[in-house]
Symmetry: D2
């Protein structure tokens, strides 16, 4: 497997008149699903994606555009990248590594 | 149900000599498990918790201390709070709301 | 000086009908100015504050409430805490430490 | 002026043996200084940069690589993008807009 990063992406349109943002998030998720070579997991606070750094950033740029195509005038996007190069780890591996060390599991 | 927020907390010790941080995260998770009235979900990028705002911040302070008790000298903690007061929603509700609007589900 | 942390706080009301949020930020800033024992610096992306951890979190909770008092129904707040216990450093010290090591300054 | 975004970037090497990270930040800053068409401001918590979205993300990728070239094995990078398309605003404008609305200035 080529070097990969795990990232969490969080796209929020501002000034949208309604507090409900789930249809924007759903449209972003559809863009993520169409991306090649990217694993993803939707959470309550964002979407965790895994793939090569360059493709992750390209995808981040793409989903940042999604709310604008739906009428938003301002979008705040947070990209949090965890890039570990001494060892490969998937989204699932990271969770398992923690659980295996939790005494009260 | 009393007013609740959903938050993502991410505690990272800096200057730890080793790149592996999962035992710190496991210890933080154990503190979260012992908290009363808090729902939680571990993800690859942090822990999502749900509860009343004040208790969420108290818990955040508590888990921020955990790496120090394990020898860390510097800790970077991110707390991201989503507080919606027009409607109650759980961690699961938020994910379901997105999935229900995703055309390619 | 008692142990202090440096934190960046970022309070964003969602679903506000207008993309302009500066009056909300101004109201948050006024709450910060009234806090005892807190140093602060306004930036284009948030407010950096310095003080004892507990007071920083109390202040974060207070300013998170500000947009609700102004009519917001949903608020997203990010608190990023840098807590270094091996050495005291102020907001200014951190910037100076970087600049002193920058070869092209 | 072409459409621009304001972003805050925060690059942190993990597992570095020492809690002092300012020489990494200084090296990242030098990479930012060499970027064409980018305005920047160093803060105690990260670097705020302004420029066209694509160049901002390219620069983010470049500075994310810097700690690896200095021996780091794991790097956590946060990119927070504020992209407002109804109105141009510089890093300075955003701060001034808040201060002009602050009653106790």
């Amino acid at each position: 497997m080529k070097e990969q990063v795990i990232a969490e992406i969080h796209v929020v349109p501002l000034g949208t008149a309604t507090t409900s943002l789930s249809h924007y998030v759903a449209a972003c998720l559809d863009t993520i699903k169409q991306a090649q070579g990217i694993s993803y997991q939707l959470t309550a606070m964002g979407t965790i994606i895994q793939g090569p750094l360059e493709q992750v950033l390209e995808l981040a740029q793409k989903i940042h555009e999604v709310p604008f195509t739906m009428g938003a005038k301002r979008v705040a996007t947070t990209i949090y990248i965890d890039d570990r190069r001494d060892r490969l780890a998937t989204i699932e591996d990271k969770v398992k590594a923690v659980l295996s060390k939790s005494p009260n599991r």
